[in-house]
Amino acid sequence: MKVHAFLWVILLSGFLYADQAEYLFEQGVEAYQQGDYGRAIEQFESVLQHGKESVALYYNLGNAYFKTGAIGKSILNYERAHTLSPHDDDISYNLQIARLRVVDKIAGPESDFFYRLWITVKSTFSIHLLSIVTPLIFGFMILLFILYLLIKTRLIRATLKWTLIPVTVTLVLFAALFAVQLNADIHDEYGIIITEKVSITSAPYETSTEVFALHEGVKVKIIDRSGDYVRLRLTDGKDGWAPADAVALI
């Protein structure tokens, strides 16, 4: 009986939390519509503090920060929304506009045909899509195999056999892509510069020489950490150390 009651509490609190997130989100939307972007940011951020996230939440938060001129945080939230939902047109559009406000123009890597193809493949088959589709193909393949085992009719068996081959090949391809994306999702860390200007130094301490400077909104890859410093790499290959609080992880 006691256990029962305890379960109920957990369930209820779960509902309450979901409800509360919904409520705070609506409050934020209302504030935004009234032009009170500061309060909108507060409301949206409190949803995150409740441990909940959603695509729309990050997108709206990006908008609110954009309106207050905080380009770094705006891009940060658009990027988060973009990772969760890579094919949302609104997110890509606003992200483009926000990126225009970034002062540093950093050249991307040399892009040949195969590189662009790879980028397209990576963005089309996101980790979210792959983590659903790959097990489904796997299940389908097993199902076909089970049928093959059990059915005796020669014609059906032959058909199943010839269907199994392409399905298996597809599965291998998806599994490989999934492995790559999974590895990137777990190990690769990206961040956005959120302070107006940050000096990038050659070593992780204050007295080291400045190599170059970065400004709000630049997307960087985080490749190392040491104390209160993180080591960054830009798309054009430059790297250096920056104080950890100047960079927010996507």
């Binding site: 959603s54 097993i142 195999f145």
Partner: protein
């Protein structure tokens, strides 16, 4: 004609399709004598000139020796929104060997395309006059002529590398000299020479040497800077003088007497030469050498200033650094300037002002840096430092300018920056547009950092099919048993089983274990048939077996061999008499043969 037209078209096209980079080289003269200086200039022009660094100098093949760099100059202009840059590098050389020589083309690479200049033909002649046969034994150079000689005055004979040496060539004459010309300049290998200004009309003074009155004048004054340490020699200077001589003959022709009387005299050309001078050049001390020292010797002052300290972003400011003083101004190195990364900076413009009066080389060199702040805020340009060696105090000195603080205010928003990277076509589409409106409804809220691949459903999608597969296998096995597919499996494994039994029998092939041996052989034979026929071995009677063999159309001879062998085995198993090792081996071979043959029959 055709080639002409072709060339013309080529020329036109090269003008119309502006090359990103043109490299050209020039010299101040193409004919010169040994020991004369040559100014060699490399000019880069075109859009890409800004991006390439200093080109490598061509190999001068022993004809010319490098004296020093005269610095770079840069000219940037914007025409129709396009930037054009002309950059030139000046170098000084000394001719050291006579002959005809071609300066090879200078090559500059830009985006993997080489750009070359044209080669230049040089003719280096011998020093204009051969050395005169003057005896040069005295240390401070008087010619033997007695009445006409050159004396060289030198300020110092032991100097530091880069320290100025003043050399004054004075002509002394007890005869009347109407004019002179320098036929050979002193050889100054290993020195950088700057000529001092001398008055157009030589100032003539009177001097008495050894009781004899002489007229003297400065012929030439130079300042020499040694470029490397060691024992060096400055060669002699050779002058050709026009000397008027009084004629002693009274018997003259009327024209002679007209031109050659006491008023005009007779003009004779005489060469005079000075003595070579040895100079000891000491290297600069290594002790206390400052970190940023780059070779300047002399006495200098440093000044650094900016034209404005309050600017808007994208508005240019000029940082002017002036080094002035006494020393080899032309070869002054660039001072070390650290410019914050927030400034866009261009190569500095260098200008020199050189004063050749008062027996010294003095002047100033100015470096003008154009800086364009890109971001608002307080920017600090760290102090500029400049180190030099002062030969008077024999100490290194370091000059430091104060730190410059510049307040940068946010200027008008600018999307396209000159020289900087502009926007891509794709980005231009978004200029001036506002962001899209927020989403009024949220999608499903999920826990922070939720990933489907970490969730239970993901695992379930993977595991459930595997479970189903396991169940399917079990089910199939069950069905197979029911439909007698087990018989097929047994029959397929019969041979392998029999062979395994036989090999076990082989290990028992010994008199002491004959009982066990025959047991195994019999087992192998009986088991083989039982497996093939999917029957129980124990319940298999020989009559039943024989009829089964017949049903499978087994060769009758093989059948009888098989049965006689089984009988023999059973007999020997229970009546172990008269058995030898050979008999056992014989039985083993027979059993094996029968099984191999039977395998083919079934």
């Amino acid at each position: 004609m055709k080639t002409w037209v072709y060339n013309f078209i080529l020329f036109l096209s090269s003008v119309l399709v502006a090359q990103p980079l043109t490299v050209s080289t020039t010299v101040d003269r193409t004919e010169l004598a040994v020991n004369q200086q040559l100014v060699f200039t490399i000019q880069l022009s075109g859009e890409a000139a800004q991006k390439v660094g200093q080109p490598d100098l061509p190999d001068m093949g022993g004809f010319l020796s490098f004296l020093g760099s005269g610095g770079t100059s840069q000219n940037i202009s914007f025409v129709n929104g396009k930037m054009s840059v002309t950059k030139s590098f000046t170098f000084y050389y000394l001719a050291v060997k006579e002959g005809t020589f071609t300066i090879p083309p200078v090559q500059v690479e830009h985006q993997n395309t080489p750009y070359r200049s044209k080669a230049i033909q040089l003719t280096i002649t011998k020093s204009s006059t051969p050395r005169q046969g003057t005896t040069t034994s005295q240390s401070q150079g008087t010619t033997n002529s007695g009445d006409l000689f050159i004396r060289t005055q030198i300020s110092k004979k032991k100097v530091y590398q880069g320290e100025p040496i003043l050399l004054t060539y004075q002509i002394y004459s007890a005869v009347s000299v109407s004019g002179y010309s320098i036929t050979k300049l002193p050889e100054t290998t290993g020195f950088w020479v700057e000529e001092l200004e001398t008055p157009q009309q030589p100032q003539v003074r009177q001097e008495v040497i050894n009781g004899r009155p002489f007229v003297t004048a400065d012929v030439r004054k130079i300042i020499a800077f040694a470029t490397s340490p060691g024992e060096k020699t400055i060669g002699p200077i050779v002058l050709q003088c026009e000397v008027r001589e009084q004629s002693r003959s009274r018997n003259r022709d009327i024209f002679d007497s007209f031109f050659d009387d006491g008023f005009f005299g007779r003009t004779v050309r005489r060469s005079v030469s000075s003595n070579p001078i040895d100079i000891e050049v000491m290297p600069l001390p290594t002790q206390n050498r400052p970190e940023g020292f780059s070779g300047a010797v002399g006495e200098y002052n440093l000044e650094a200033s900016v034209d404005k300290t309050e600017v808007d972003t994208d508005e240019a400011i000029t940082l002017k650094i002036t080094i002035s003083g006494i020393g080899n101004i032309r070869l002054l190195p660039k001072p070390k300037v650290i410019i914050p990364a927030d400034f866009e900076q261009y190569e500095p413009k260098e200008t020199e002002r050189i004063n050749r009066k008062d027996n010294t080389i003095s002047g100033s060199k100015t470096f003008e840096y154009v800086l364009v702040p890109r971001f608002p805020g307080t920017q600090r340009i760290k102090p500029v430092t400049f180190s030099f060696f002062n030969p008077k105090t024999r100490q290194y000195e370091t000059l430091t300018s104060p730190e410059t603080v510049i307040q940068v205010a946010k200027g008008q928003e600018q999307f396209v920056r000159p020289g900087g990277s502009g926007l891509s076509k794709e980005e231009v589409r978004y200029v001036g547009r506002d962001i899209r409106f927020i989403k009024l409804q949220s999608d499903r809220f999920q826990p922070l950092g939720y990933r489907f691949y970490n969730s239970f459903p993901f695992l379930a999608i993977l595991i459930v099919p595997l479970l189903l597969l396991g169940i399917a296998f079990l089910y199939k096995n069950h069905v197979d048993k029911l439909t007698g597919n087990e018989a097929y499996a047994r029959s397929r494994k019969a041979n392998a089983m029999a062979m395994r039994r036989l090999s076990r029998a082989k290990s028992l092939l010994h008199i002491d274990t004959q009982k066990e041996f025959y047991g195994e052989v019999s087992n192998a034979l009986a088991g083989f048939a039982a497996d093939k026929l999917n029957k129980s071995k124990a319940g298999l009677l020989s009559d039943e077996l024989e009829s089964e063999f017949k049903r499978h159309h087994i060769d009758s001879e093989l059948t009888s061999d098989y049965f006689s062998l089984i009988r023999e085995c059973d007999y020997r198993r229970f009546a172990p008499t008269g058995v030898t090792q050979e008999v056992m081996e014989q039985s083993y071979k027979q059993a094996k043969n029968v099984i191999i043959k039977l395998e083919k029959e079934f």
